[in-house]
Symmetry: C2
Amino acid sequence: MEALLAYLKQVHPLSKEAENALLEICSVETVAKNEDLQPIGHTCRNIYFIKEGLLRIYYLKEGNDITESFEVENAILARADSLFDASPSRKGIQAIEPTTVIAINSAQLFALYDQYHDIERLFRKLFEKAYVQTVNRLESLQFYTAEERYNNLVKSAAQIIQRAPLKHIASFLGITQVSLSRIRSKK
Amino acid sequence: MEALLAYLKQVHPLSKEAENALLEICSVETVAKNEDLQPIGHTCRNIYFIKEGLLRIYYLKEGNDITESFEVENAILARADSLFDASPSRKGIQAIEPTTVIAINSAQLFALYDQYHDIERLFRKLFEKAYVQTVNRLESLQFYTAEERYNNLVKSAAQIIQRAPLKHIASFLGITQVSLSRIRSKK
């Protein structure tokens, strides 16, 4: 749990008591390669911290499997619509590599807010960051071409290019694998 | 300010003291029809409550003016990227009708969080709602056709269809005005 605590501390410090209360509602889950951590249509009841591995958020459109994002170790992952709305998510979470996550039960977490103001503040800040990321993702679709998005991926997360299958990178960029090869060969 | 307080009360109740502190950092602004409340490239330093009128969030893509969303009275409006990131927003806010907003200064608001836990909680909940709306907007672009999005607009906000110019509704749906007329004539 140390990696989780170190990550959280960067966002907002917790008292020892709050830290212990938080750890009590955490559990470790492992997902095999190509298995779903959450299938499409599932209502998300956890916030995940990725301890080790690589996940992708994906959805189906007209039968095609589209990768929306890649999520690597030392990051928080949650499906906001599902968490705050209690509605089934149209997107699934799948492991690209064998992955270990720490799952934080959201109902229990939200209950802790009343007791520990610092936990509420920490997760307020975390969700604000996630909110900004979602706005940026929307803008990336609105403003950038596939090639620009590929370059952004190389800049911000070059390791994804090495670790994720080409088909997922291509669907993430909204192009075919052939077009992706063309972009890559230019570099 | 009564409309604002009534709106906020639905989200989370405030003590009288917190309410007064909040009102002190609010100011009323009016925007004439077709004028910008915030131009593109501006760093958003306010959260707005729309008291009266109709606004749109818009951006430019390859010289075309695209409407991202419509925002009517009795709603909160903020540019999350700009607020939490202090970065200039790629999107502007423009009045479609003469509009009156209540502006809440974000730096002053965030400072109140330390003094008034209920204000922090209220705005945490407000931003969680806004976060879910952004996720839904992204999914609406990913999953729905223009016709489905038109039908959703009629269902969720029929008055927009009456109040907003066709060109803005068409760019919101990502289609030409001719295609929009075709969809409308089917109803």
